[in-house]
Symmetry: C2
Subunit: 221 residues, 2 copies
DNA sequence: TCAGAATGCGAGTGACCGCTCGCGTTTGTC
DNA sequence: GACAAACGCGAGCGGTCACTCGCATTCTGA
């Protein structure tokens, strides 16, 4: 069996790898400002300073560019979220947990504005939608696990709903964060944390009380 | 000066008005499922059961269809929000106020799914973006006024930020609401209300306390 | 009744866009 | 230095889509 061979295809020279990176960066810029569908491959090639033919030397079609770009972003996103979520457990105070998660997630999105543009357009190609759905499901699962850990004994449906809401609220907040800069951006980050904390805090105490009540009734029947 | 003439153009027969309504309904369906850019005028004509030529008898171009549809929806939206917001004043308990507003707004969006599709796609034509921005600004102003009334003495920047957040959170919640049905949809509506109430409640008491404190210090210097 | 306007049709036109192809240039290998 | 493979080019092909045009049909008003 052959080793060291990522995928089928021509063996790349260093020059080729550089071109690919260059094309992906150009694509990121164009997608970012124009959106996927409205971006033309010719425009991407022009932005990268190469001819359309050269672009198709490295990507079989337009979709493949978005796929490759999306794959790399998703991979980085998974790493970021994995690290961030691993640093949190139910013993962490809610405020601190939310603070850490929101800070790390927003940092990633601020560094990679394409991610938001590519993933939330309604016109993204099929393969990428699937990958994004997979990422979303993955993220949802992680958040669900965290929510379940914070709210022991909560029904599965409630946990799922809460996780959906957390992600949705985060996304809404992120949009506001990204559309502001400097001090105002920081203010929105703070408010986003407040939203999540204030939404989750009552659930926390509710389930803690319920657990205590259960304990009490069990002990003193 | 001539009266009774809405715009320049040929005088319409009743048949023409019917065709226009029919074409707009068809456009709503097509836009809803395909999005604006990906929708072809031929597809809209086909959906309406007429020829492309007939479509262009009533609309000068593709954008005009979206504009007209958007105009009508925005008009209805303005009416709905106007009524809903007029029914609320600072003497209303927060919970009741939020409940009323969320119920009326979500009802509108559930009845007109095109609205969300047309207004939140990244590929909508320029004129419509402007109109949507105008609507958003209008809505923001109304929400700001309400927030300012609920939080007397709050700095303008805070009021604006809070209003932005309320609208953003609502939009996020709406997306979740629209993507579910029946009991689960109702559950999301409830949670959306909770999010807003829990986010705003502390602000309310904070500014009430601050106002009381100001009053006290002024009276007993 | 009848002229003129409004409505209706659908093949066709021009522009754009994703993508190809033939051919020249650079790079790695022996 | 010689050969092959990877790289690079850009005019151009095929297809799609917004939109048009010439002509037929239906309606309105006098």
């Amino acid at each position: 069996m052959s080793v060291d061979q990522e995928k089928a295809g021509p063996r790349r020279q260093a020059r080729g790898e550089r071109r690919i990176a260059q094309l992906l960066e150009a694509a990121a810029n164009v997608f970012c400002t124009t959106g996927y569908t409205a971006s033309s491959t010719n425009a991407i090639a022009r932005e990268a300073g190469v001819s359309p033919g050269t672009l198709y030397q490295f990507f079989p079609n337009k979709e493949a560019i978005a796929i490759e770009l999306g794959d790399r972003l998703i991979h980085q996103m998974r790493e970021t979220t994995g690290e961030a979520l691993a640093a949190v457990d139910p013993s962490t105070p809610l405020e601190e947990a939310i603070g850490t998660l929101v800070d790390r997630f927003t940092a990633f999105s601020c560094q990679h504005p394409v991610f938001f543009a590519l993933m939330h357009g309604p016109d993204i190609p099929g393969r990428l939608t699937e990958e994004h759905d997979a990422l979303h499901a993955h993220l949802l699962g992680q958040v669900e696990a965290l929510v379940a850990a914070f709210l022991p004994g909560a029904p599965a449906a409630d946990v799922t709903r809460t996780a959906h809401l957390c992600l949705g609220l985060y996304k809404a907040g992120l949009e506001l964060v990204l559309s502001h800069e400097g001090a105002e951006r920081d203010a929105y980050v703070r408010e986003l944390k407040n939203v999540l904390i204030r939404y989750l805090e009552p659930l926390l105490t509710e389930y803690r009380d319920r657990a205590t009540a259960d304990l009490t009734t069990t002990r003193t029947p």
